[in-house]
Assembly symmetry: C3
Homo-oligomer: 155 residues x 3
């Protein structure tokens, strides 16, 4: 028994759709109650540094983050367009799969300006719980360390 590639692709597709359509309040639902969500850089990840630009270890913390984002709302109006590549399934057995999936995020500013905002890889642990596939871990390892002060929307 293992998790099909179709389901792994589907949850990846749904995750970025959630962010890119602005449905941020639904974003925490992709995670288990106990989870690890972290945004870090390749350099820090390689050095084994635990701290990240963003760190949350529960779904509740993710919801708080979205709440804060909505209330603060100081960032310039912008949208992301994520493209995720084909997933690498590293381990797959029982109800759990470990995957690595590359991504590119293009940012579209209010005036239409379009830039490559971030690239990197998602290091994921996916778990099948009551027929739903959720993230036990999603570590967002960004290739460049330039972006960190700019992060407003989730990656």
């Amino acid at each position: 028994m293992s998790i099909t590639l179709d389901r792994i692709m589907a949850v990846n597709a749904a995750y970025i759709r959630c962010i890119d359509t602005g449905a941020l309040e639904s974003w925490p639902d992709f995670f288990l109650d106990d989870c690890l969500y972290k945004v870090t850089t390749a350099e820090n990840h390689k050095a084994g540094l635990a701290a990240g630009v963003i760190y949350a270890d529960s779904k509740a913390m993710l919801s708080d983050r979205i709440l804060a984002l909505r209330q603060a709302n100081v960032y310039e109006k912008q949208n992301y367009r994520h493209i995720v590549g084909l997933p690498n399934v590293i381990k797959n057995g029982g109800d759990t799969a470990e995957c690595e999936t590359p991504f590119i995020v293009v940012r579209i500013m209010h005036d239409g300006q379009t830039d490559v905002f971030a690239t990197g890889v998602y290091l994921d642990t996916l778990r099948d719980t009551d027929g739903e596939l959720k993230f036990a871990q999603r570590m967002v390892v960004c290739d460049s360390s330039r972006f960190d002060t700019l992060v407003a929307l989730p990656l």
Copy 2:
């Protein structure tokens, strides 16, 4: 009965291959005779505006468009490279599937200059007709509204 993800991915892959290899005369064959093809912006789409930058409601109109493009041929020589992400299958039953698939288009000018030209999402209705999967609808919703005067090749 529903349409497999493999087939949905295959038709998406074939569609962009058709455009990016310059086989534009075959492009209308991806659509049903009665179809909706529209290029619009996220802003206009959100506002519920029916008009688009490009609008066609039949395969014949798409063929006309290619004919005009070939005859006019005024635009600077350029190529596109589309990358489509993983499809979101929103509805799937019987002979019809509704999908949302993100894309990024890079434009390569004659002198080799390479830019992100457009990003967005395809809002599709796919129908299985005599064993072939065709577009009943492909709405191309572009994230930025900057591009509109530049569109020469189909998206």
Copy 3:
């Protein structure tokens, strides 16, 4: 009997992971002993020119190339992030599949600068040998001819 799309996607995903994680010594293992690996431009490919920017017709030549790359090491520190799109399976029967898969490569320089480095298409012949899927041919056709003096890492 034919090769499943899942396996074709998996080998594509693994290939770029190998390069983007810097595990270059493992890169030749994606190829058969007798193989064709070539990097060329769309223009040269269309003109039928056999020569490429990079050319190797055996796995041993690919290993030599990596060795030279590691020893020379003159190029500025940089990383690639490949995103491959959905594969087009052109032929598929027995132990062999012919595929065309578009790609985009973003280059991340040491200082964090991020650019679209190359786009193009992989023209592949994949062969199933003892249960493993390997490249008999991977022709890397780049859309722009601007890049050629810059190629350091494999594409």
